[in-house]
Subunit: 389 residues, 2 copies
């Protein structure tokens, strides 16, 4: 069991009508705000007007950068970082889902350096020692970006999609209002659920000695998502379902569940190569890859983890051979993704062919080995892609 440092000082306003605190939170950091958002759905929903009203009520000055795309691009980051410099921005306010939040994090860091923000993510791996303060208003439960210090940025020129975690990228405060996710459609709700589940499984499927207490918590998060994602799809304005999904999304990835485990993730780097080239929804890619990855990693040395997962999350009858329980657990997960959530079950169904598998696999492990639940080399990852076709 490894040591760890727990340090998650994000302040979260959870619930409805908490935006009355927005002006007070922003004002802690200054008066000049860069408001970032995506395609404009926040204007249709009326959220934009409410945010502007709160900013004005607090006497703050707002600049805007809209049009941040899903799988956010480095060009948006560059643009935002430059705006921060041009307008002497004090604090960034990201309103949207994980893409907007992730891009905003790297804008906040880019604002504090003279070099191209892509240097944070390219092989240069420029240090991230500070960033402007970030406040977020979440409109989609999925990536957990509202409570973690990570972000993932795509570079279409190089076909790269790279993630990075650095403490300065942690938001100062996040507003989580479940009603803001009522308008998330069934498909995006399903993809968000798959993303959250993947965040948990990347930590849960790990043979390092861990804290039983955190295993229980992870199993509880999984049961929560499995219980409420279908409810939210069926009844988009079910507050209880949206609230559980929203809070679970934050805790799936804010670092608490790690408890000192050091092994790297597997499915996320593999999926990033998919969406870097094909621009598919991240959660969909994860749903397709995850059951195949689990199948590929199952053997006598790992089976105990699958058994615990199957019994505690899916209530599979424990009076069976471990390998049988493990296979049923994988099947139950696949059934949840592809039948309950109705996500496409194969890469083929979303128009992806084997054409780029070798280069994608090579990039996923950076030409070496992907150290995760089981170490994966290029040929292993290619195999997982093939199983997913």
């Amino acid at each position: 069991m490894n040591n760890f440092i727990y340090d998650i000082p994000v302040k979260v306003y959870f619930g409805q009508n908490q935006l009355c605190h927005l002006g007070e939170e922003l004002s802690r950091y200054g008066t000049r705000i860069l408001l970032t958002y995506g395609g404009g759905s926040i204007k249709k929903s009326g959220l934009y007007d409410k945010v502007i009203a709160e900013i004005e009520r607090a006497g703050l000055q707002v600049f805007e950068l809209s049009g941040i795309e899903p799988n956010p691009r480095i060009d948006s980051v560059r643009q935002g970082a430059q705006m921060c410099k041009d307008h002497n921005i004090d604090v960034l306010l990201a309103v949207g889902g994980g893409s907007t939040l992730d891009a905003t994090k790297f804008m906040a860091a880019g604002a504090c350096v003279d070099h191209d923000p892509w240097d944070f993510l390219s092989e240069k791996w420029a240090p991230i020692t500070k960033a402007l303060p970030i406040v977020t208003i979440l409109t989609l439960s999925a990536t957990g970006s509202e409570m973690d210090c990570a972000g993932v940025i795509s570079n279409p020129e190089t076909q790269d999609k790279i993630g990075r975690l650095e403490a300065p990228l942690l938001p100062k405060a996040s507003f989580l209002d479940p009603t803001l996710t009522y308008s998330v459609n069934a498909y995006q709700t399903a993809c968000g659920a798959a993303d959250m589940i993947s965040h948990i499984l990347e930590v849960y499927f790990n043979m390092e000695k861990d804290l039983y207490m955190l295993d229980c918590f992870m199993e509880g998060l999984l049961k929560t998502i499995i219980r409420f994602a279908p409810v939210a799809i069926e009844k988009p304005d079910d507050y209880e379902a949206r609230a559980n999904l929203m809070w679970a999304s934050s805790w799936a990835i804010n670092g608490f569940i790690n408890g000192g485990k050091r092994l790297a993730w597997s499915c996320h780097p593999i999926e990033h190569e998919l969406s870097a080239i094909y621009d598919i929804t991240h959660g969909l890619g994860l749903a397709i890859i995850t059951p195949r990855w689990l199948e590929y990693c199952l053997d006598e040395t790992t089976v105990s983890r699958y058994v615990q997962f199957g019994i505690n999350v899916f209530n599979i009858n424990p009076e069976q051979a471990p390998m049988d329980i493990a296979r049923q657990a994988i099947d139950r997960l696949a059934d949840f993704f592809f039948n309950t959530l109705r996500l496409d079950s194969t890469l083929g169904k979303v128009g992806i062919t084997a054409e780029h598998f070798p280069i994608m696999a090579q990039k996923a492990c950076r030409g070496k080995v992907l150290r995760g639940f089981k170490p994966l080399q290029q040929q292993d990852i290619e195999k997982i892609f093939e199983m997913s076709l």
Copy 2:
């Protein structure tokens, strides 16, 4: 489901040999340290020498206040607050269990005002708007004081034992090293486990609409404590057991599990009256009171909560009448406290008679009503005391 604000910016160093970070953490806040501790067990264990060595290595100046008693007294608080003023203390370092930590919190607040620190807890209820920074090193898993903003102080003159929560009392950083609890004896380990369980049950047994996700987490914490307390008693240097208990103790009461529930606690105020007069160990008093309180509150309107508890925590067969499941759940909890943990099962066994029940009951509800799981008036609380005799 109520709104809530999540805000727990305590930095936790979890694991062995993390004291190398102590100097760096203290130095954030200044150079003049008030070191507080209890009866001197930290000298026997060698921890005192290690702490002093780290403080000296960081070039800081240390003042000391030892002898903080279990169920800490207001006189210790007064003394500490005065020392902070006399020596221009910058930061307090509490080394010990909940008693030392609680007392230190009110010293830190008392250092910032001119009035008697008891005014924070007496009917005057003086505002607590600031406190000196507090860092803690925990040596006993129980109260959760290391990660919450609460403390409980006794006043033997008035036979009062009063608790209070205020944001400025939150520690800045806490060091949680499970090996420091190896020397905690079987009885104190058992009392600590009972205290943690009570913290969770005070929130869990509550009929407000809550987050399923947090129910799962509470059940996981309960299972963790029920699983590992007997291990730690049997084998005091079992790292896994001590680590699970230690981290569970923090999360049982740091506020995360509340999720916006507003109802007040029941067993803690009732028990405080016991230990205010009889100075018994807080966890022992809770173990005795809790099953009787649960029994007293069980009826058709509350039974669903007991059923969930029994099935999810004790794996009681769900194919039974709800009232039967509920009664079995209470029995299982009592069995855990009194047989597995071998705690005394009645007030009579610890020498308490019915003599002061009326005044204790009257003080527990402050002459009105104790608003908790079920509202309790003086006669209800007297009845619970009688059931515990």
